[in-house]
Amino acid sequence: MSISNPSQTTSGGTPIIKIRNFDFAYGDAQALFDINMDINAKQVTAFIGPSGCGKSTFLRCFNRMNDLIEIARIKNGEIKISDINIYNKDVDVIQLRKHVGMVFQKSNPFPKSIYDNIAYGLRIQGVKKKSELDEVVERCLRDAALWDEVKDRLSESALGMSGGQQQRLCIARALAVRPKILLMDEPCSALDPIATAKVEELIHELKKDYTIVIVTHSMQQAARLSDHTAFFYLGKLIEYGQTDQIFMNPRDPQTEAYISGRFG
């Protein structure tokens, strides 16, 4: 079922994540089957597919969040980020996660002040200098288009913000450790249309500096945001290509059925 040309990356991009023959299982239940794909730097790549198809699981493999699950294991294959297999024994997960940031489906700001939320990533690295922290907090909040909304209440609890603001705060928090890659697991699923539009706008801006991989249930969102789209079904990568091509002219009948709303 895997696509014929594994390193298929259509026009204009340098691959930063390379996945080869990747098999992943929870205990005895295999969740991902023989996945091959390249993800381009400084582009937005969207994963679409029905619930339970393994796209979130796959995303969590990129920063090894699946390590938290006891029974999760890689059966075969590798994921290379900047040509380093991240499942090598000598890879420090902490360094990897600084390099590959993540934004979760449910916004999870810490119950601390807005300032402390952004500064968290730096503080755990031992940065104590107030001026440096101040600067990073402002930069990240500006990058997340949140600065003007919250600059007067940085010391207030992040939980007093609206849902959309909280999610953008989480993005800003992820930016603070200067990742190269940003993984987003359905970042807009709990947001209203206006907040969603703001986050999408933000993602569009961030594309200039970051490689973004986004899992989404909204096909319109994938179509609007992404440069490339991958369609997953039952743990397999069915089709991967330029977003326009996937949506206008899908090669696989299953992809076509899904994007035209006949199942999923």
Partner: protein, 401 residues
């Protein structure tokens, strides 16, 4: 008027179901009232009788001596003359009452007369009792020894009651030390254990077994813990009957509750906080330290302090390990070495209450000590509970989600 009597779709109609419903809610209500009544009676009884010992009518209104002095034997001298009069009056009443009982049912005038006589005698007894209270002499040990000469045995009848004079100072100090020490030990051990169980351990049957056995520990009778502490700390470690043996015994007894509560508090922290922190490149311990423990702390502290306060009320575990029935010196007095502080027995309120309520007679001279000690102990336990609640509110304000 007819409009109000008219039956409509939603009119209340008596039915079997409604009656059962009312009966059930009534039963719940009555059960609750019974519990409140019992608890209220116990508390008020102790508070009322205890306050006689603890409070005094003059400023500063608190009986400082009772709270600070060491327990002493109470030496009582009763005026013999009044005592004799009291006895004869009581005897008269008894004989009159027997007479009254033997009267036939138609001799009402005679019965009334007898009743009046009894009432008069009872008045007299009351007056005599007041006189007796004024006339009697009571001394603690120190005052008794300081007497130039004893009151003459012709005028006074002498009796003495162990532990009933003086105060409960050493017992209060001992209890506070026992509680603080066991909190320190139980909290540190318990939280470390709970962190491991909730954050680091691999789920599976082994973990369930460990959890189950920890929980089962809390069902072990306290006397068994006492014997364990005696065998382990007092005899095997050769610490003797000492404060440190009591600390460890109490701590081990409180551990199951603390571990279970701490684990519960930590598992109640949303997974998102952990993931969010880890995804930013925090190590596991950093995540726990910054994003799990602070939020779980209110729950951990509250239940732990409550757990220790409950355990500290037990007599059995300290009976063999830490408590002395009587000790003249406070723990910091007369130490040869600094480390001796830990290896000395102390007085403790629960044990003291046990001693004064089971080893000495119950009468008006001993009651003060019995209820007073219980009342003070209630207040101390209440204070610990209150402080844990205040602590929780304070920390909880800082972290809310």
């Amino acid at each position: 008027m007819s409009a109000t009597n008219e039956q409509h779709t939603f009119t209340k109609r008596p039915s079997r179901k409604a009656a059962i419903e009312a009966a059930i809610s009534g039963a719940f209500r009555i059960a609750t009232y019974i519990v409140i009544l019992c608890a209220g009676y116990i508390f008020l009884n102790i508070a009322y009788n205890g306050s006689k010992a603890v409070l005094i009518p003059k400023a500063p209104f608190i009986n400082i001596e009772f709270l600070t002095a060491k327990p002493q034997t109470l030496h009582v001298f009763e005026p013999k003359e009044i005592d004799a009069e009291l006895k004869s009056a009581k005897a008269q009443i008894v004989s009159l009452q027997t007479k009254q009982r033997n009267l036939g049912s138609n001799e009402t005038t005679a019965a009334d007369e007898l009743e009046q006589q009894v009432a008069a005698l009872q008045q007299e007894i009351k007056a005599l009792d007041l006189q007796r209270k004024d006339g009697r002499l009571m001394y603690g040990d120190d005052a008794y020894r300081a007497l130039d000469r004893e009151p003459s045995s012709e005028l006074y009848a002498y009796s003495n009651y162990a532990y009933s004079g003086g105060g409960i100072g050493p017992a209060i100090v001992g209890t506070c030390l026992l509680v603080l020490g066991s909190i320190a030990i139980a909290l540190s051990l318990g939280i470390l254990c709970a962190i491991f169980l909730s954050e680091y351990s691999t789920p599976g049957p082994t973990l369930q077994l460990i959890r189950l056995s920890i929980l089962n520990l809390s069902g072990v009778p306290s006397i068994v813990f006492g014997l364990f502490g005696f065998g382990m700390f007092v005899l095997y470690f050769d610490w003797g009957v000492s404060m440190i043996a009591g600390w460890f015994t109490l701590a081990i007894m409180a551990l199951p509750v603390i571990i279970a509560a701490s684990e519960e508090s930590m598992r109640a922290i949303p997974k998102g906080f952990r993931e969010g922190s880890l995804a930013l490149g925090a190590s596991k311990w950093t995540t726990i330290r910054t994003n799990v423990l602070p939020y779980a702390l209110p729950g951990i502290l509250t239940s732990s302090i409550m757990g220790v306060a409950r355990v500290a009320g037990e007599t059995a575990p300290i009976m063999f390990t830490a408590a002395y029935a009587l000790r003249d010196q406070l723990p910091w007095q007369g130490l040869e070495q600094k480390t001796d502080f830990f290896f000395q027995g102390v007085m403790a309120l629960p044990y003291h209450i046990y001693v004064v309520s089971s080893k000495i007679p119950q009468n008006e001279y001993t009651r003060n000590m019995q209820y007073g000690a219980a009342f003070v102990f209630l207040i101390i336990v209440g204070f610990f509970a209150l402080s844990s609640i205040v602590l929780r509110i304070k920390i909880r304000k800082k972290y809310k989600w």
